[in-house]
Amino acid sequence: IFGGEETDISSFPWQVFFQNPRAGGALIDENWVLTAAHVLESNSNPIMYMGTTGVRNVALQKAQMLLADRVFIHPGWKPVGERQTRTNFDNDIALVRLKDPVKLGPNVSPICLPDSSPDYDLNFGTLGLISGWGRSNERNVVARLRMASLPVVPLEKCQSVESEDPRVDIRTFRFTNNMICAGGEKGSDSCDGDSGGAFAVQVPNEENTKFYVAGLVSWGPKCGTYGIYTKVKNYISWIEKTMQENRISDQD
């Protein structure tokens, strides 16, 4: 997380820590974690943790460990060859079904899902919260959870940023309606290691403050500028169908 600050896990109780490779995810149900597809490409059997602000070994020993039972990568996610550089992050979304339900508590609870109503359409300027243990301004490896608040901006903003790697031409990347661009304020941005984490937006028309996962940290041209987030609203049907068809019944 660039441009953000340290925070306590209790402020982001849905935050899931993927140990290796380091990434994030969002708890959406006692038995399901939502994350980015590219997170699971290199590890389809991730070990995850929840309920901890710190992620040093000592802290992880006290955290709640989550084991994956099965992984569901969106069918629209296109694999690429090992030597190829990915430029298409369309449908960067995946679900992880857990072996055992998580035990909820003050530091472990799910984030809400959007529904298909227009209320959940994101307007430019809508603020979202991002969190994770990804690279920060000062550190490549972060030990304690960080967060930042950033606005939704037009996708063109993301398209206009020059890539961090000069060999990479941002214009070769695929931009779709399944993506949200956010950032550009005070250098707040997600970065490597934050992938899969939630772009949490306040639930509209709700008397009590609640947050839903509007986006998932997906990719970006350069940390500290703008980031692209998978637009979760576009995948609600797939998420619900996948969860329904693959839920573990009480008798299993």
């Binding site: 209790s10 402020s11 109780p13 959406i28 909820l104 508590g105 609870s109 809400c112 947050f211 839903y212």
Partner: protein
């Protein structure tokens, strides 16, 4: 020893009999005969009342005659001077002479023969109840048609035993009713009904006329009814003296009608019917019966339906109704079955929630489901309140039998307060 005839001569006959002599002759002829004793010669001392010398003829305790003095036949063609006829088969001839016989007396000569007696007519009491037939040396009794001779060979009676009645209703009369019933009879009748029915007898006063009781109240002819240890009667007289309706407590009734040799009347007529055994009107609580009747009797069947919220449990099967039948012993079948409150059992547990009442689980009980707050909330509609319904399930007003669902509260940040410390 018996003989058909004999001769009796005074001592020393035909010479003078001695003084102070006494001799007894016991005459016996075979049974069925009488004795004809006749004297052909009599020459004895005459005295007043024959107190000096005499010959006495005794039959049992009866002195048939005492002879003394001289007698001669008045019939020239017959030598008999004195004759006796006794309708018995034994006789005694007793001769006595005293101490003084100044003259010579030759005594007597007597002869006896057995003669047939007519038992049918010779005695005051007729030996047979109906027909008497005399023959030489005896007699025999006989009976009219439909009568039979009893073992005593003298009395005739009617065969009126072994009559069994099994119909639920019937009529029974004495033999020949309303004509005279037979004498010397013992008639027995039996009513046997199916268990579960009691015999009820009705006798009209005018349907009863039996020889009246004697001065001591004893009925020479009598009607006696017995059932299940109860005895009714004996009854006799003109007009039925007992209750016109006799309700026994048994399904078997014995009727005995006895008659002696005299005093026949028209007899009696009775009707009977089987009264079904009643069963109690009380049934298990919390139920309704169909049909509802003032009385229930044997073979009645009733459907017992439990009120709402109650059920009958037999083993692992429960139902809301059952049938009972009034049995022959006056008890209902299935009387062990009771309508008990429906038990919904412990409320089903739910994930991430609980029911507050798991002990009171009978019909009408209420349990409240709540979710484990603050991390879960009740997703389903309704208040979470479930009531134990009549069908044995916990039911919610909105969800019915569907259980509530507790789902995780989402999107809530539990921000720690910063506090004053730096």
């Amino acid at each position: 020893d018996t003989s058909m005839y004999g001769e009796i001569l005074s001592p020393n006959y035909p010479q003078a009999y001695p003084n102070n002599a006494q001799k007894t002759w016991n005459i016996t002829v075979p049974d069925g005969y009488g004795i004809r004793l006749y004297f052909t010669h009599l020459d004895m001392e005459l005295s007043a009342n024959c107190e000096y010398d005499s010959v006495k003829i005794v039959s049992g305790d009866l002195v048939e005659g005492v002879l003394c003095g001289q007698k001669s036949s008045k019939n020239p063609s017959s030598p008999i001077v004195k004759e006796y006829h006794v309708p018995y088969n034994s006789l005694q001839v007793i001769f006595e002479s005293d101490f003084s016989n100044e003259e010579r007396f030759t005594g007597f000569a007597a002869y006896y023969v057995a003669v047939d007696i007519n038992e049918c007519t010779d005695f005051e009491d007729a030996p047979c109840s109906h027909f008497c037939n005399n023959y030489i040396g005896g007699y025999f009794c006989s009976c009219p048609p439909e009568y039979f001779l009893h073992d005593d060979m003298k009395n005739c009676g009617v065969n009126c035993s072994g009559n069994i009645f099994t119909d639920l209703t019937g009529e029974i009369t004495s033999p020949n009713y309303p004509s005279l019933y037979p004498e010397n009879s013992r008639c027995d009748y039996r009513v046997i009904l199916e268990k579960g029915f009691h015999v009820v007898v009705t006798i009209k006063r005018e349907d009863f006329d039996v020889e009246a009781a004697d001065s001591e109240g004893y009925c020479p002819d009598s009607l006696l009814l017995t059932a299940g240890g109860q005895q009714f009667g004996p009854y006799c007289g003109n007009g039925f003296p007992g209750q016109q309706i006799i309700e026994t407590k048994d399904n078997v009734l014995d009727i005995i009608f006895q008659t002696d040799e005299t005093g026949q009347k028209k007899g009696w007529k009775l009707r009977y019917y089987g009264d079904p055994m009643p069963c109690p009107k009380e049934f298990t609580a919390n139920s309704v019966q169909d049909p509802v009747k003032a009385t229930y009797v044997y073979k009645d069947t009733v459907k017992i339906t439990c009120l709402e919220g109650f059920e009958v449990v037999e083993g692992k099967v429960s139902s809301t109704s059952f049938y009972s039948s009034c049995q022959s012993n006056g008890q209902w079948s299935n009387s062990n079955l009771k309508c008990k409150p429906v038990d919904c059992g412990s409320p089903e547990p739910i994930k991430n929630g609980a029911a507050d009442n798991t002990e009171d689980t009978l019909f009408g009980a209420v349990t409240q489901y709540t979710c484990s707050e603050p991390y879960y909330y009740m997703k389903t509609e309704g208040t979470g309140e479930y009531r134990c319904a009549a069908n044995g399930t916990w039911v919610n007003e909105v969800l019915g039998m569907e259980l509530p669902q507790c789902v995780a509260v989402c999107g809530v940040r539990n921000q720690k307060s910063v506090g004053a410390g730096r």
